[in-house]
């Protein structure tokens, strides 16, 4: 497998809508290679979240045209859990609360589901704890986090840190982060960004979906795409984000129109 130059994710003319609703994605083209960090930016209602949900495999969306290839496979042939086990992980904009289920339990089950999928032996509790403790430190999270119910009673910042903790433990090939910066104060933003930066690696791709440029001053992207009206209307390098910051979305949208 020489993936150096081949795309890990190939999105071709992707069109999608909420089931029986109006079209939201109207032809997205995007290629992501290992080691790259892409930022997808756009105003509210541009289709950012829909793109994440469709790639993550959420029910309730209908793909009306186009293809998505992930690691050479048709992504839409894979169930959400298969996508996750194959290394495509979605960081949620609104992480879901699951009462009664401890964080450590979810992490361990998810970790072992992945190992099982790869034909590797499941990790025992001691091996796993050792691994998780390292990652907790990276996220400056206390060990008590592990024994709290998943996201229950977590502050906005804690929830987002928890998402990145999961990423650090599960080590995805493609991390898709949906508005990971929303609802974070400056300190939390810094911690979360540091976590994402630790995820960066030559064989891993990261796609950041964000509304604001401020995240990109902590995580430097290789590519920036502007999503508007369900299409990518402009792509560029990190300077595009700075341009956005100066002239706002309206300027770019008008320029593209």
């Amino acid at each position: 497998m020489t993936q150096e130059n081949t795309a890990m994710l190939k999105i071709n003319n992707l069109q999608a809508r909420v089931e029986n609703g109006t079209p939201i994605l109207k032809g997205i083209d995007l290629e992501v290679k290992p080691g790259e960090v892409h930022a997808i930016m756009g105003p509210n209602g541009s289709g950012k979240s829909t793109l994440c949900q469709v790639l993550g495999g959420r029910d309730g969306y209908e793909v009306t045209d186009g293809t998505v290839e992930y690691l050479g496979k048709d992504l839409f042939e894979l169930e959400p859990e298969e996508r996750a086990r194959e290394g495509l992980l979605l960081g949620f904009q609104y992480p879901v609360e699951i009462p009664g289920v401890k964080n450590i339990y979810l992490l361990k089950e998810a970790y072992n589901a992945q190992r099982k999928h790869r034909g590797e032996p499941e990790a025992d509790t001691f091996q796993f704890l050792k691994l998780v403790r390292e990652k907790l430190q990276m996220m400056q999270m206390d060990e008590s986090f592990l024994h709290r119910a998943v996201n229950v009673g977590f502050s906005g910042g804690e929830k987002k840190r928890n998402e990145i903790l999961q990423m650090l433990v599960l080590e995805p090939k493609l991390a898709l982060l949906d508005e990971t910066d929303s609802g974070l104060d400056i300190d939390a933003l810094k911690i979360v960004s540091e976590g994402v930066n630790k995820l960066r690696s030559p064989d891993r791709a990261i796609v950041l979906v964000t509304h604001y440029q401020r995240l990109l001053s902590h995580i430097e992207p290789d590519f920036v795409h502007v999503l508007s009206g369900g299409r990518i209307i402009k792509s560029g390098d990190k300077t595009l984000a700075q341009e956005l910051e100066r002239s706002g979305y309206q300027g770019i949208i008008e320029e593209a129109a």
Binding site: D59, P80, I98, P99, E109, A113
Partner: protein, 482 residues
Amino acid sequence: MSTHSQDVEQLIKREYKYGFSTDIDQEILPPGLNEDVIRAISAKKNEPEFMLNWRLEAYRHWLTMREPSWAHVHYPKIDYQSISYYAAPKSKEDAPKSLDEVDPKLLETYEKLGIPLHERARLAGVAVDAVFDSVSVTTTFKEKLAEAGVIFCSFSEAVHNHPELVEKYLGTVVPSGDNYFAALNAAVFSDGSFVYVPKGVRCPMELSTYFRINAMNTGQFERTLIIAEEGSHVSYLEGCTAPQRDENQLHAAVVELIALDDAEIKYSTVQNWYPGDEEGKGGIYNFVTKRGECRGRNSKISWTQVEAGSAITWKYPSCVLLGENSVGEFYSVAVGNNLQQIDSGTKMVHVGKNTRSTIISKGISAGRANNAYRGLVKVVGGADGARNYTQCDSLLLGDRCGAHTYPYIEVKNPTAQVEHEATTSKIGDDQIFYLKQRGISEEDAVNMIVNGFCKEVFGELPMEFAVEAQALLAVSLEGAVG
């Protein structure tokens, strides 16, 4: 009395038609209920006079009673004359003395149910009193228990070998006329378990009974009596399962627990009677009366139940807290799928001073099931310092099922403290998607959430049964989502 003679005639006719068959595998009384049937049951079991009289008294009382209709369950009228009230495996004639003598077919059935008697006997140190329909088939570990002075045997044996204990305690917690189904049970019960733990003895092992309804069209009416003398301790587990039949079958059991000074009884149930099919066809009608009396100071009775089966569950394991400082506990998981109906809960009656009770109820509804918690916390005038904590949570899967809560609180003492907390939640698509997007299958995701919801109750079960209970929930909720 004309109806009575009619009944007799009917019985005779039926006997003519069906007869007592000896060439089939089961010995079954023909369907129908009257005093002659009760005499026949008592005679078959070779019971002493006091038992027959007790049964007859119960039967006569039952005739004056009406089937209760207050529960949140619906079912066609039960025809009590179409039920056969006694069935015994044919091997009863030469009752097995050890496991080797037990019909291998029977043991095979137990294996399928995941109750390997040999394994249990050898490894787990669990004494299993297996009740196959109405007659106790085998009792293991009797000797070891005897060494400790613990009596653990079938009810029939107790009637013969310890009549003084049976006569002294039988019906003292659940009187023969307590309620419709308890009265029916008292009249026709065929077997069950008996436990007596003498003063100061800590029972050296978990006691366990597996009940199983096997014969068609027979009701099972077992009766269990557990007596814990001063300072003794016993943990008892019953597991129940029944094969699949299209007809509904009636199960009306009674359990009586008696804890004297400083004694503790822990009673755990994993109930998995056949719930009927997806359309609600068939399944067990489970109408059970379970009650414990904390008669002594500092005594404790704890009920833990996992109710996963039965078409209808009508069951309220209760504690009457008579002794000062006595403690009652009720931990329950009740899960209903498809068209199952559950009306279950508990009664905690505080009579003694400084009595305490805890109720943790977890109801899970899926499919088109209806699940009701019905509970009573009662504090009488003299129960100074009584305390109760009740937590009652419902979890819904899908949008066609129902959860209902009927908590009754009656407090006659101003020093009492009674707390009630209740929540209702739903397994959301977003929760399932979140877990799936972490690589966890939908089934595992549901199990994870359900087990999380139930863990306070599972924590009360003995370890190996907690694992079994989790597996049981997974099976019960198969296909409940998606």
